[in-house]
């Protein structure tokens, strides 16, 4: 896992709304996503780009990771977005409708040219590739695994169902294969994978169920369209006290056993091996607990 950080929630904020950008950091989301793409009307694109550029410089987002979703390079806005945003080096650029590794390579080449012009390194800002088309789903492993700067992939449920010419249903049936394929690609590439938004902000129970499912099949976290959704997702993703205690014991005993040259051992009759230790370490990182 590179540069581990919690990405349980990624809060979308329209890039043309200064009040929402100003308050973006106070809700406790792990990541803030300033959106220049779908949340912004065509005639607002320039204004939103300028607003995001200026507000990133002065706004305190506290502990949140700050990402910017740019427009696709096939639109009249994509390149201009990169020219303005890349020099600011947010934590990550989120790129929509990523379909192939070649596309990512072209994008990175442009980003790196801009970075070179501004004397910026190529290893600070990362890339989040959004998978929102059937083609993207088919190519996801190569998108996720071939580039060291891609440190998360995400699924865009609404666009994907539109591309598949199906209706998005609350049971997620139409995108279930895509979800699992994308998760598997991310896991194989050791990067984060973020689930799509839950569109009904008033359905707390539905959000909880969908998040529990996303967690169960392997998603690192979930995109959020309203701050009211954050606490529910965090509750689902935050390990329980019992889980933390168990993980702490596993890691502690693993270290003691490793020091004594023992690779596999047992706790209360259950075998503890490397995968279980890795899982325990992941849980402790989520809970921000270090083993002394």
């Amino acid at each position: 896992m590179k540069n581990f950080r919690n990405r349980r929630t990624m809060l979308y904020i329209p890039g043309n709304n200064p009040a929402m950008i100003q308050q973006g950091g106070v809700y406790g989301a792990d990541s803030i996503l300033l959106d220049l793409e779908d949340a912004v009307a065509l005639n607002q694109k320039d204004a939103a780009r300028a607003l995001v550029r200026n507000m990133i410089k002065v706004t305190n987002f506290y502990d949140a990771e700050v990402c910017v979703r740019v427009n696709h390079l096939s639109t009249p806005f994509g390149l201009a977005d990169l020219e303005e945003i890349v020099p600011l080096q947010p934590s990550a650029i989120r790129y929509p409708k990523t379909e192939s590794p070649e596309e990512v390579a072209d994008l990175l080449a442009i980003i790196e040219k801009i970075e070179d012009r501004h004397g910026l390194p190529h290893n600070r800002m990362t890339l989040h590739a959004m998978i929102e088309t059937a083609m993207g789903v088919q190519n996801v492993f190569n998108i996720a695994s071939k580039f060291s700067r891609v440190d998360a992939i995400t699924i865009g449920g609404q666009d994907l169902t539109a591309d598949m010419n199906i209706i998005y249903t609350s049971d997620g049936a139409g995108i279930d294969f895509a979800r699992k394929r994308i998760v598997m690609a991310a896991k194989a590439s050791h990067i984060d994978v973020i689930d799509t938004v839950f569109p009904d902000v008033n359905d707390e129970e539905g959000l909880r169920k969908e998040t529990e499912y996303a967690k169960k099949i392997g998603f690192t976290g979930k995109a959020v369209i309203n701050p009211r959704q954050i606490d529910i997702i965090h509750e689902v993703y935050t390990p329980t006290e019992e889980e933390i205690r168990k993980a702490y014991r596993i890691v502690k005993e693993f270290r003691a056993n490793s020091a004594a040259g023992i690779g596999v051992f047992a706790i209360e009759g259950k075998m503890i091996d490397a995968p279980i230790v890795a899982r325990a370490e992941y849980l402790l990182r989520l809970a921000k607990i270090t083993v002394s």
Binding site: Q22, Q23, V26, Y27, G28, N60, N226, P227, R228, D231
Partner: protein
Amino acid sequence: MLNSLGREIPEYIEGIGKLEPYQGALTKLRKGWMDEPTIPAPNKAYLPHQSKLCKTLEEAIIRSNPHNGMTVSFHHHLRNGDILLVQTLTILHNMGIREITLASSSLNECHDPILPYLKDGTVTRIFSSGIRSQLGQAIAMGVLDTPVVIHSHGGRVRSIHTGKIQIDLAVIPASAADCEGNATGSHGKSAFGSIGYAVIDARYAKQVIVVTDNLVDFPCIPLSISQNFIDHVVLVDSIGDASKIATGTTRITNSPMDLRIAKLAADVIEHSGFFVPGFAFQVGAGGASLAVAKFIREKMKTKGLKGSFMLGGITSYCVDMLNEGLFETIFDVQSFDAVVSNSLLNNRRHIEIPAALYANPFNCGCITNKIDVVVLGALEIDVDFNVNVITGSEGKIRGASGGHSDTASGAKLTVVVCPSFRGRIPIIKKRVHTIVTPGETVHVLVTERGICVNPAFKELEENLRRAGLNIKEIHDLEIEVDQITGIPAPLEYTDKIVGIVEYRDGTIIDVIRQLKE
């Protein structure tokens, strides 16, 4: 002279009298009695079977000896749906009565139509716990020669006991009443729940008119107001706009910001050391304040914790918590929605209380003295934790003292919830425009950008830090917010005092000066 918070208070104001400066929240109570003499309540006599019924409100007013310089009182349980205050003052105005002192327990937007009567000398003095809208604006600009007196709910009772407010005529709207004047707000088409603020008016006014749109057979039960204090009874078509008197149920806010603040406030309460079995709890009825109840409810269920009582302005949310067994009792001085009226009428654990029992500091124990945790809002708060709930950022009177200082003084934990800025205006100030609640009675401020603990309460701060909450020093938060909003230019005032803010013990905690044009 300066009061103990450093505010300049005049020694005497024409039309108000000698003023006593605020000296501390509990200073005057430590004696164990009130120095000011209590005036006797009037004793009246009625002949057997004498009718109290009047055909019209005007007839009842004529029978109540209207005269120049009289004091007329009202309650504000009908909130923004009240029509009788305006009707009464219009009748008095048409009779040519002048120099009226208006003593309404609060004033809302619906009372704006009386503004011409302030301009023409019909009304020359006002005592109230709150003033808003056009009235608040006009008063701040100096429409009255004599300053208005802003009191708390508990302080109003004390002012009536001491004769500072001597009521000549009390007009008491009731949603149900009988021919003798036994009255209640708990049922009828205009039900508004508790009538707790009017009880003291009925007891002390020289003349009392009960006005109802629902005359029931004798006796009207419950006897929230009892006949032995009532002079006249009037049946009218309507006492007010039912849609503005009480909505169906109170909804928790959907505002992400209010919910965020409320969640943090609930976390503060949980880890304060006061979230224990049997705790007593009060929350306000709006915004972030009510939303705290949502999170406290969840935490109580998770922990299997049961509280003692809820107090104050009661919403359907409080009733739900009572019915779920999370609290044993509700003490209700003011009800906020229709569901509350039903509960008040039918649940013996839901108890209607008068303002005296709610919050009067000078008796053998008001119920605010027993609160463990209260959650309150603020228009402004300063770095000494003094709170303003009466004047807005533009200097106009636009809020209410209400029970703010009463509950803060009694609670073991006073939590003030507010956003760190509204629009472009910072809420945390070096010095609030008007102090209503002294910082010594405020324990913690919760904003979306951090939690500030009053440095006088070290153990509380330690508890909250141990729980991992985002504690900031209030000066640091003030600077942080100022960096976002900038510092607004100071307001400009004349020397004229347009309002005095009475603390609940009768001392003067602050004055409001006239805004320059």
